[in-house]
């Protein structure tokens, strides 16, 4: 039996989440942590969450973000930022750190970035320089206000005759003189718009309401534009109160040059270079990762306060004195309290592993995506359909690439050749990210919210009070919003319905199963069988029909595709945790601070991963069994029965792993008090 000496520190996290060599990111983490456990925690402790209104007290957050560099984190160095290259992992780490204390503060920090993201992804160079520069704190010698942004997509008002397929924003030509820039009249009504109290500009999605404008676009609207820039009423949300949210009503006149990405004039019509959907696709592809990690941070943040509460539960009472088990161990004497906390910890770790893996891969993906855009443009493949057709031609090579990537002794020359092909590499990364990003958003928040409820229940009545250490009740409420915004759970399931059937992803998943089994690590064989069960079920449902002859796996049959997506999320999060634990075991010995307690850490994390595998394969197995048998579909289901039985059998020892992990929890050293106020 091992001993878990301390809670995992920064050294451990840097190895597991692969930023041990990135001191820029380590500094960002420290900056965000200091704000979270200082300014943010103080605001929460002082009751700042009790108001829907943005006020001076909450304004301290913006000042803290500006001072510590978080405001300029999104920018490149030439724009006033300090991190070169993609920043998905950096933003994910900041969201994680801030949400460790309060999710709303993380939203507040990220919202301006979200407003800038359309400009960053698709804006013209002039638009980028204009807005990015203004959004950074003034440099020495400069005297100017920092511009904040808000992102306004559809957000229709419910019950007033609009539906989510229609943009609540219209653009018309107001004035168009010969040889001059057209002036547009833009009307936008937003709901639930973050940063709206203090936004200097809004990036708004609008539809054409004029024959002289083609389709939809995104456009920037500024508070000083002629017309009405009504910030609207505050949204009466019951969570994330440290972010400003209002329902604005905007009706302004702006030059057409504000159309994000620019436009062309064709046959007397304004043709935006990008539709709003193209821009949003590029933006949301990445920004959903930090949101998922926000709930995960709360889960992991709950571990220490729950342990402290359990240990000190009976101290101060008359029934026990120092030295007695009841005094020293409190509720930790009871197996159930420890084991339930192990479940929470394992789920938190799995979510973090999944989200940070997605963020790292998104960093890798960003330059590849740009290369792909350039290549296809050079080949004359513009527009989504032509691009898809061009990429489809690369699928065979992408599948070959997957084969080589997971091979024990691959043909290195061929692997390098395929790796150098931006379209092949794009196809692979796109296939994986199109699952792991929505999975992060869906699983981390939805399942995470349920585990947060469990964490609160472990604190007894204390858990539902404002005095609960770690603000757990607030965190639980916040997680519900995180499951909703930037695309609610149904949207993520719809996304996965399409992307989980990508042959490149399916091939990678199949290879991963083999790789896991070959690793021989605790729980790996069970997870491998779980993956094979999912792959088998996917194939069965994709080719089969129910007893009434209806197709099973179909976009519109959400009773099939959605649960199948849910099952996949459980499994991919467990894969990520297994990967991170393997990394810790491999790299830990090279770090002197981690090496000291590595035996205990390795043992604990191996057990934690096995616990998560047991839970994940169990949840997935239950869902898959319903799908395979529940529709009375024709076909031989014996292979599934065999796979499921094999998965279950390979869980041998998983409960012993939970016993050991829970025993370790009883001995782990924790700080004397929480490092942020109550």
């Amino acid at each position: 039996m091992y001993t878990l000496n301390t809670l995992p520190g920064d050294d451990v996290r840097q190895i597991m989440w692969r930023f041990a060599e990135r001191f820029d990111l380590q500094m960002v983490v420290q900056s965000a942590r200091q704000i979270a456990r200082g300014t943010v925690a103080t605001l929460v402790a002082q009751g700042a969450r009790a108001s829907h209104e943005w006020n001076e007290q909450k304004g301290q957050l913006l000042e803290a973000f500006d001072q510590s560099g978080l405001t300029s984190l999104f920018m490149d160095p030439h724009q006033g930022g300090f991190i070169e290259g993609p920043k998905n992992l950096a933003l994910a780490l900041v969201a994680f750190e801030l949400s460790w204390v309060d999710g709303g503060s993380a939203t507040c920090s990220l919202a301006s970035n979200l407003a800038l993201a359309p400009i960053h992804e698709k804006g013209t160079p002039e638009q980028r320089d204009y807005y990015m520069h203004r959004a950074t704190p003034p440099q020495p010698g400069e005297d100017r206000e920092i511009w904040r942004g808000a992102f306004a997509l559809t957000e229709p008002l419910p019950y007033v005759g609009v539906d989510t397929g229609v943009l609540v924003g219209k653009a018309r030509v107001d004035e168009w003189k010969d040889g001059e820039e057209p002036v547009l009249h833009v009307e936008k009504r937003g709901r639930f718009i973050t940063n709206m109290d203090f936004a200097h500009f809004v990036t708004a999605a609008v539809d054409s309401a004029d024959d002289r404008i083609q389709g939809s676009c995104m456009i920037t609207l500024q508070a000083d534009d002629p017309g009405t820039f009504d910030r609207g009423a505050p949204t009466l949300k019951m969570c994330h109160q440290l972010s400003s949210t209002r329902d604005p009503i905007i009706s302004v006149k702006v030059p057409a040059s504000r159309i994000i990405g620019g436009y062309e004039i064709k046959d007397g019509r304004i043709v935006p270079n990008y539709s709003h959907a193209e821009i949003i696709g590029a933006v949301f592809h990445r920004t959903r990762i930090p949101v998922g990690l926000m709930t995960t941070a709360k889960l992991l943040s709950a571990i220490e306060p729950v342990i402290r509460y359990h240990r000190s539960r009976f101290r101060g009472g008359e029934a026990s004195g120092p030295g007695s088990p009841k005094f020293e161990m409190g509720l930790q004497q009871k197996e159930d309290t420890r084991q339930r906390l192990v479940d929470i910890w394992a789920a938190g770790e799995a979510g973090a592993s999944l989200g940070f893996a997605a963020a790292r891969m998104a960093d890798e993906f960003d330059p590849i995506e740009r290369q792909k855009e350039t290549l296809l443009r050079e080949q004359g493949c513009e527009g989504p359909r032509k691009q898809m057709a061009a990429l489809r031609k690369k699928q065979a090579e992408a599948l070959e690439y997957v084969e080589l990537l997971f091979a024990d002794a691959p043909d290195q020359a061929r692997l390098a050749e395929l790796e150098a092909d931006a379209l092949v590499r794009f196809s692979y990364l796109d296939a994986v990210l199109n699952v792991t990003i929505p999975a992060t958003k869906l699983w981390n928040t939805g399942v995470g919210a349920n585990f947060l409820r469990e964490a609160i229940s472990l604190m007894g009545g204390y858990g539902i009070t404002e005095d609960c250490p770690g603000f757990l009740m607030h965190k639980w409420a916040d997680s519900q919003l995180e499951a909703t915004y930037e695309g609610p759970e149904a949207v993520q399931r719809m996304h996965l319905t399409v992307t989980m059937s990508n042959p490149v992803f399916l091939a990678a998943l199949d290879k991963k199963a083999d790789q896991l089994e070959a690793s021989g690590r605790p729980g790996a064989a069970a997870l491998a069988e779980g993956l094979r069960s999912w792959l088998w079920t996917h194939q069965f449902l994709a080719s089969g029909k129910d007893a009434e002859g209806k197709k099973l796996l179909h976009r519109k049959r959400q009773g099939v595709s959605f649960p199948l997506a849910d099952a996949l999320c459980w499994l991919v999060s467990a894969i990520s945790l297994m990967d991170d634990v393997a990394e810790l075991i491999e790299k830990g010995p090279m770090n002197p601070t981690v090496a000291e307690g590595l035996e205990g850490l390795s043992g604990f994390y191996n057990d934690l991963a096995f616990v998560q595998v047991a839970r994940a394969t169990g949840e997935a197995g239950r869902i898959l069994a319903e799908l395979v048998y529940g529709f009375a579909a024709e076909g031989d289901t014996a292979p599934f029965a065999a796979l499921r039985a094999s998965t279950d059998a390979k869980l041998a020892g998983s409960r012993l792993a939970k016993d050991r992990a829970s025993e370790a929890l009883a001995g782990v050293m924790i700080p004397e008090a929480l490092d942020y106020p109550l």
Binding site: T6, D24, M27, Q30, S68, S72, F82, R315, P671, D675
Partner: protein, 265 residues
């Protein structure tokens, strides 16, 4: 007048951690010391922020932070400290616990300072903590100064002003009073009390600049041979144990009364 300010300061375990003395293979240590999160010794922090402030107000000043500590832990702490103020790190790899002899520590620090290539000893202001959060020997800075031949030394410094007459120093003395002294100029040594400056907010631009010297300094940190200056027969926790509690809005009088009761108990 420009100054070359050398700040001696290292790391201590995060104050929220439980510090349990144990006997380790190399003598007394703290339980799980390497795994516990660490911070810059608050006394050294005051010295560093005062140094940076002084350097910012006078042209051509330079600031070095000379740290003796386990370099892997130093690196972690630098991720926060490097963002606070501009400085160049000189790292010495060795223990930072309270179980080292201040005489040997002073020797290692003085040797590291003597090795700073660009240091102009005529401009040298030696800064450090008057005390330490790990074990306040209260003698390290004095001995470093002696080894460097600095005879003008001030302890418990809360304020340092550059005036036309030289350096005006506010030192803590007995009875809760301050003593104002003036020294003509460098070289001089200052063991800082709390100073007057708050902890600066993080500035990542400063951090990125500092990292250009910090990472190489950590890589080439030489191990310190601290020897066996003194032996420790045993270590134990204080007899009186205070239970940490979190109480909201407690009146100051009640806090004081509780502290007195605890000390008397």
């Amino acid at each position: 007048m420009s100054y070359h300010i050398v700040v001696c300061g290292s790391i201590v375990p995060d104050p929220l951690q439980t510090l349990t003395p144990v006997d380790g293979p190399q003598g007394p240590a703290l339980k799980n010391e390497m795994m516990l999160p660490a911070v810059l010794d608050p006394w050294a922090g005051h010295a560093l922020y005062e140094a940076a402030n002084l350097a910012a107000r006078h042209a051509d000043c330079r600031v070095w932070l000379v740290s003796l500590g386990p370099k892997a832990k130093l690196q972690q702490v630098m991720m926060a400290v490097a963002q606070k103020a501009p400085f160049e790190l000189v790292a010495v790899d060795g223990p930072a616990s309270g179980f080292t002899d201040s005489f040997a520590v002073a020797e290692a620090l003085a040797e590291a300072i003597e090795g700073i290539a660009d240091l102009d000893r005529d401009k040298l202001l030696l800064f450090g903590g008057w005390q330490s959060a790990s074990r306040g020997a209260g003698s390290t800075i004095q001995m470093v100064a002696e080894r460097l031949g600095i005879v003008d030394q001030f302890q418990g410094v809360d304020q340092l002003n550059i005036t036309d007459n030289g350096l005006e120093v506010l030192e803590r003395i007995e009875g809760g009073s301050w003593l104002t002294s003036t020294v003509q100029g460098a070289p001089a040594a200052f063991g800082w009390a709390t100073g007057e400056l708050p902890e600066p907010p993080n500035n990542p631009q400063v951090g990125m600049m500092n990292m250009k010297t910090i990472m190489p300094a950590l890589q080439k940190a030489k191990p310190a041979a601290l020897g066996n200056g003194f032996g420790v027969n045993n270590v134990s926790l204080p007899q009186v144990v205070r239970e940490t509690r979190v109480v909201k809005d407690m009146p100051v009088d009640d806090i004081a009364r509780e502290l007195v009761d605890w000390i008397q108990g």
